[in-house]
């Protein structure tokens, strides 16, 4: 048996908090030195906080055999990207070591090094070279790349004139034609339209199965993970929480997500360095399709700042964004957050129209210091409403995310007795204002049930 293609032993990465940005310029550096010298002379104690450190990754050990496709899951800040960055040598670990036995290419972003002014053709060569392809290799694959990206007509147009879809397609196409022994991919499938995403997944599948390449794949998209990966590493707070079969780890992850929102009232989820999220609750949880869903958010600012934008992001279990809840103040006003003065938001989503299942919830926060998505902070479940049509409901996986209420249905060209009939309760029917608007000749018979 050959040795594993990647073996990581006790990998750890430590970042310094807070102080990193404090001495960003030489001038700041010099003032800091003078200040501390002043303290020595005046005999005052150093009242500055000692540097705080955070372990983004700690004690991570695992082996990857050649040809395996490994999914890496975990919340924002669990260390997924840090792990990929260490393996691709972008950043150095603070401790531990990893052995990589093969040519490794990392795809942490599509279109790295793309230049707006250059044409598609020029960018293919440039991006290919950045990703580690030789000129000969790119030349050989050039036509294939262009065809995959479907940009033949625009290949000599500067990419700044591309639509965002074309841009992403071209960028991914270059990356997809890399032929390293190990491919490290971070969340790049979150971009592009659904059809292209499927194409990318297909390409990755082809690369892993057909060519026996090893892939490390980070995603919040559980269906992509389930489709591609043979094994999953579940990271939580910088440590490995589980390694093993895909379904088992994904289930554990989703369970943890839900557990957090049901469990104790107080959580302690950092939103950048400026805020702590202390509560993020949904009730009732589970909620029935069509009922109102209450939510409560408490945020503790750790400094004075302004919040411009706050949105709740709702994702399906597989990582498709289902909707957002916009919590901005009216007229574009910003919210002035004060240090240690908690912000509490209580809200109600009207008659939630989601198909039963688990939903993952994140936050988008835009404040003075940063704007960012925080994925997978919480979760809620939706349970099915009792059917009143007499039909057995179609399986949730066939129904997408939305339960669209049908008010009337018209199906022409069928025998009269076969035409669709609308079923609804008396109350719902009574509320429908346009029943008389139905064209007289359409032949649809309304029947009131119940």
């Amino acid at each position: 048996m050959s040795s594993p293609i990647i073996s990581a032993r006790g990998l750890g990465k430590r970042y310094r908090l807070g102080q990193t940005l404090a001495h960003d310029t030489l001038r700041d550096h010099i003032t800091a030195i003078i200040k501390s010298a002043g303290r020595i002379f005046s005999g005052k104690r150093n009242d500055e906080k000692p540097d705080e450190y955070i372990w983004a990754l700690k004690d991570v050990s695992f082996d990857v055999e050649a040809g395996e496709v490994i999914g890496i899951i975990g919340r924002n800040g669990a260390g997924k990207s840090t792990l990929l960055k260490i393996l691709s040598q972008i950043t150095e670990p603070t401790e531990g070591e990893a052995r990589v036995r093969g040519r490794l290419a990392s795809l942490l972003e599509v279109g790295t090094g793309f230049h707006q002014e250059l044409t598609g053709r020029e960018n293919i060569f440039l991006n290919g070279a950045i990703l580690g392809m030789s000129k000969a290799e790119i030349k050989k694959k050039f036509d294939e790349i262009v065809a995959f990206a479907e940009v033949e007509k625009f290949i000599d147009t500067p990419v700044k004139r591309y639509s965002s879809g074309m841009y992403v397609r071209l960028a991914f196409a270059v990356a997809a034609h890399l032929e390293p022994e190990i491919l490290v991919v971070d969340e790049v499938l979150a971009v592009g339209d659904a059809a292209f995403q499927n194409k990318c997944l297909g390409k990755m599948q082809e690369v892993s199965r057909g060519k026996g390449r090893t892939i490390l794949f980070v995603s919040h998209n559980m269906s992509a993970i389930q489709m591609l990966c043979g094994k999953v590493i579940y990271l939580s707070q910088g440590r490995i929480k589980g390694i093993g079969a895909v379904d088992e780890q994904v289930a554990a992850y989703l369970k943890d997500l839900k557990g957090d929102s049901e469990g104790g009232d107080v959580m302690n989820y950092p939103l950048g360095n400026q805020f702590k999220l202390t509560t993020f609750k949904f009730s009732p949880n589970p909620v029935t399709t069509g009922d109102n869903l209450n939510f409560q958010i408490k945020i503790l600012p750790e400094c004075d700042t302004s919040i411009f934008d706050l949105q709740i992001l709702i994702y399906s279990v597989y990582g498709v964004r289902v909707g957002i809840i916009d919590l901005r103040l009216p007229n574009g006003k910003s919210y002035q957050a004060q240090k240690n003065k908690p912000i509490e938001i209580n809200g109600k989503i009207k008659s939630i129209p989601l198909v039963e299942g688990d939903y993952r919830v994140g936050l988008y926060l835009y404040c003075k210091e940063f704007y960012r998505d925080f994925h997978d902070i919480s979760a809620f479940s939706v349970s099915a409403r009792k059917s009143n049509t007499g039909n057995i409901p179609t399986k949730p996986i066939y129904r997408g995310c939305w339960s669209l209420p049908l008010l009337q249905g018209i199906l022409q060209g069928l025998p009269r007795y076969f035409r669709i009939q609308r079923f609804c309760t008396k109350e719902q029917y009574g509320k429908y204002p346009h029943q008389t608007d139905l064209p007289r000749d359409c032949g649809v018979r309304q029947r009131i049930r119940g």
């Binding site: 050959s2 040795s3 293609i5 970042y15 990193t20 960003d24 310029t25 030489l26 001038r27 550096h29 050649a66 960055k85 260490i86 393996l87 691709s88 040598q89 972008i90 950043t91 150095e92 670990p93 603070t94 401790e95 531990g96 070591e97 990893a98 052995r99 990589v100 036995r101 093969g102 040519r103 490794l104 990392s106 942490l108 972003e109 790295t112 090094g113 230049h115 002014e117 250059l118 020029e122 060569f125 440039l126 070279a129 950045i130 990703l131 580690g132 030789s134 000129k135 500067p158 022994e181």
Partner: protein, 275 residues
């Protein structure tokens, strides 16, 4: 498979330059240089003309100030040529230093997303100035023809001095680009150095103007040796450099290069985290 094994672990102390790896990434170096050159001349309608116009205007101004107003000596050589011969390496050096000191910060996205030897970035930034240099060199040839300055075989020595200029720009670029990642005020320091350097270096005058006893120290400015060399190649015997001073210039460049490389390599580990 075992033929290619990499061990990733925290590194400490002075990190040697991995020349083998640099060689493997030579194509990326060329691609980045090519990109910089392409981008520079794209969508600028007077792009090439600008590269020609800038040194020409400076030549006119410097000739006016130093020759007509200041009555500086010229060993009998036509003053415009004397100035232009110095502007050639100086412009290259100034542009290369400006570009390369910004280069790492400008490539932030690449640095945080892909691995490659980071040394390539400032090096290709210096290299991309070569097109401007070639354009200026062509103008110089035209000027020499116009002013009846004889072409001599000594001009084949120019590449040697060019390499010295390249190393000077690269060594300074190494220092500033790495410093710039950490301290963004480098952005303000570099233009200042460029502006001052133009008057401190013998661009508008010949270095014999400097009193004999200070000549040696004057050459601590590495561009002094380079500019003297360029003049010697172009204008002939009377401009023979002060060789001891030239050696000092080269020595300063080598020191800057070695310390710059050491500093760059030691900072390289943290680029992705700090930038």
């Amino acid at each position: 498979m075992a033929e290619y094994e990499r061990i990733i672990r925290p590194r400490k102390g002075i990190i040697a330059i991995d020349f083998e790896e640099l060689w493997r990434y030579r194509e990326l170096f060329l691609f980045l240089t090519w990109r910089d050159i392409l981008v520079r001349y794209k969508q600028t309608y007077i792009g090439v003309a600008w590269a020609a116009l800038q040194p020409l205007l400076m030549m006119v101004i410097f000739t006016a100030i130093f020759s007509f107003v200041g009555k500086f000596p010229s060993h009998g050589a036509p003053y415009p040529i004397l100035v232009f011969a110095a502007l050639l390496p100086w412009q290259f050096f100034a542009n290369a230093m400006t570009e390369s000191s910004q280069s790492l910060v400008a490539s932030e996205r690449m640095i945080t997303k892909v691995y490659f030897p980071r040394l390539i970035i400032p090096a290709s930034a210096v290299m991309s100035g070569i097109v401007d240099l070639i354009i200026s060199a062509l103008i110089l040839l035209a000027l020499m023809w116009g002013f009846d300055v004889p072409f001599t075989s000594r001009m084949f020595m120019l590449p040697v001095f060019f390499i010295v200029a390249f190393l000077a720009a690269f060594s300074v670029g190494l220092w500033f680009s790495a410093l710039n990642v950490r301290y963004r005020d480098v952005k303000y320091i570099v233009p200042f150095i460029v502006r001052m350097g133009m008057y401190v270096s013998p661009v508008g005058f010949i270095s014999e103007v400097v009193p004999e006893k200070y000549r040696f120290y004057y050459n601590l400015n590495p561009m002094v040796g380079v500019i003297d060399g360029f003049r010697w190649c172009i204008l002939g015997e009377r401009f023979e450099p002060y060789w001891a001073g030239f050696l000092v210039s080269v020595l300063v460049i080598l020191i800057l290069l070695v310390t710059g490389a050491i500093y760059f390599r030691s900072m390289e580990r943290t680029f992705a985290d700090v930038i």
